[in-house]
């Protein structure tokens, strides 16, 4: 039963802590509003907030879909075509070495103030964790399994399908979890740099008008929907790698 109540208990605890900090520091509402004004702001600005959430959510979801697709394709290409690997691996590292935030203004300049630049930011952020986790998952396959497949005279596509890809799925799943957690960053940063809708835009907008409670309301809505998205993806991934029993590591240590 505790399993079901735990998220609610945690949320209550965090809200109480928040209220406690407000009370302790005596911060004015234009620096740190308490939970109650923020809830009021959520209620009063609900339709507007939902409109902006829709924009941000679409950006995140499209970014995730495209980023995961590109990550899978690149990892598979490097596995199937070893010669290309030596050219692609440095590119992968370079793609990660450039701070994506620094690219945001350039992307907005090239792709405009619409959704495309935000989707591109999200794709850039999640491509690396997805691609590298899937690729290294396929590299770490047990040599004995490959030897078994070789002795069985398996065809390359069949070995890929029945052995190599499934054995890399648990690793891929952890890459996608990371991607789901960081995807909102891409969309929000993109919106900060230049946009006319989205929760990131609305936060800056509210900040400029000293509506700090509205800013926190947007932040709360963003956090809540990011969490929901993460839990949905986590649930789907657990279904995908159904054979991975969730073992309690702490029990073994």
């Amino acid at each position: 039963m505790l399993k079901f109540y735990r998220p609610a208990l945690l949320a209550c605890g965090l809200v109480l802590l928040w209220q406690f900090v407000v009370w302790l520091s005596g911060s004015p509402p234009y620096i740190l509003p308490g939970p109650l004004p923020v809830v009021k702001a959520i209620i009063s600005h609900f339709p507007v907030l939902m409109g902006h959430l829709k924009t941000t959510f679409i950006e995140i979801v499209f970014g995730l879909i495209i980023g995961i697709f590109l990550g899978i394709s690149s990892a598979l290409t490097m596995t199937v075509l070893p010669r290309l690997r030596f050219w692609m691996l440095p590119l992968l590292v370079i793609s990660q070495a450039i701070p994506v935030f620094a690219l945001a203004p350039v992307l907005v300049l090239w792709m405009g103030y619409g959704m495309a630049s935000k989707v591109a930011m999200t794709v850039l952020i999640i491509f690396f964790p997805v691609c590298s986790s899937f690729y290294y998952g396929m590299q770490r396959i047990s040599p004995d399994l490959l030897e078994l497949a070789r002795i069985m005279n398996g065809s390359r596509p069949a070995v890929l399908r029945y052995i190599i890809i499934p054995s890399a799925l648990p690793s891929f799943a952890s890459g996608v979890r990371v991607a789901a957690a960081v995807a909102p960053i891409g969309a929000i940063v993109g919106e900060w740099v230049g946009s006319s809708s989205g929760l990131g835009f609305y936060m800056l907008h509210a900040n400029g008008r000293m509506q700090i409670d509205v800013m926190f309301a947007a932040l709360a809505i963003l956090s809540f929907s990011s969490l929901m998205l993460y839990f949905f993806i986590d649930y789907s991934l657990n279904r995908l790698v159904f054979w991975e029993a969730t073992q309690e590591v702490s029990d073994a240590i």
């Binding site: 047990s142 004995d144 399994l145 030897e147 078994l148 497949a149 002795i151 069985m152 005279n153 398996g154 065809s155 069949a158 070995v159 029945y162 052995i163 499934p166 054995s167 799925l169 790698v241 159904f242 054979w243 991975e244 029993a245």
Partner: protein
Amino acid sequence: MAEQGIVFTDVSLAFGGHVLFQKLSFSLAPGSCTCLLGPSGCGKSTILKLIAGNPELDFSGTILCAGHGKKAGKTAWMAQQDLLLPWLNVQDNVLLGAKLRGRFNIEKCSKAQQLLEQAGLGRVMQSLPATLSGGMRQRVALLRTLMEEREIILMDEPFSALDALTRFTLQDLSAQLTRGATVLLVTHDPMEALRMANRILVLGGDPVEIQNDIILQGSPPRSVDDAEVVKRYPQLLALLMLEQGPPC
């Protein structure tokens, strides 16, 4: 006769400057079970890898399997780890070879089901390997090896990770089901060799050579109180002690 089984002629192999085999020659009759015994690191598993055609081993000499130099499609391999794929159910694991070769059909499927029933695994056909005990998993691995229908079956300490009773029943099942195939079984257990084999080769020395070649009477699986087993066990144990060297 030797043309059909396994023939090693002047096989030499070195690992990083250390000579493992120097002109090793032997031949194994078709349709019989041969056990390789010897101290660890004496190259028992390497002999299996050579027969399986492992591309990483650069040897000289010739190795013929069932009359061919080309090993592809001649051998089936069973290892100490069951190597079952956790995402496939028991039946699909048994059919793995057929799936990998794209030769999966109804006949293969019904043969797998028949084998599973025969091995007492009929009830767990649709279960995932994670739900089975170690003995059951190794039984599935044995059936997967048999489903390959190869002339030569290579077994690398297949029962060594099991408890004594499970090992005993699996030895019986394996001896029954592999009858007629050319089996090469690597083991470190002299009792297993005596129960399972038609012939025992004891390896040892540096470079490794065949120290003893023992032909056993009667057909496997032998019971533990079989006259041949009772007579040979102390002898074999003494021989292995000698090969192992003094305890350190």
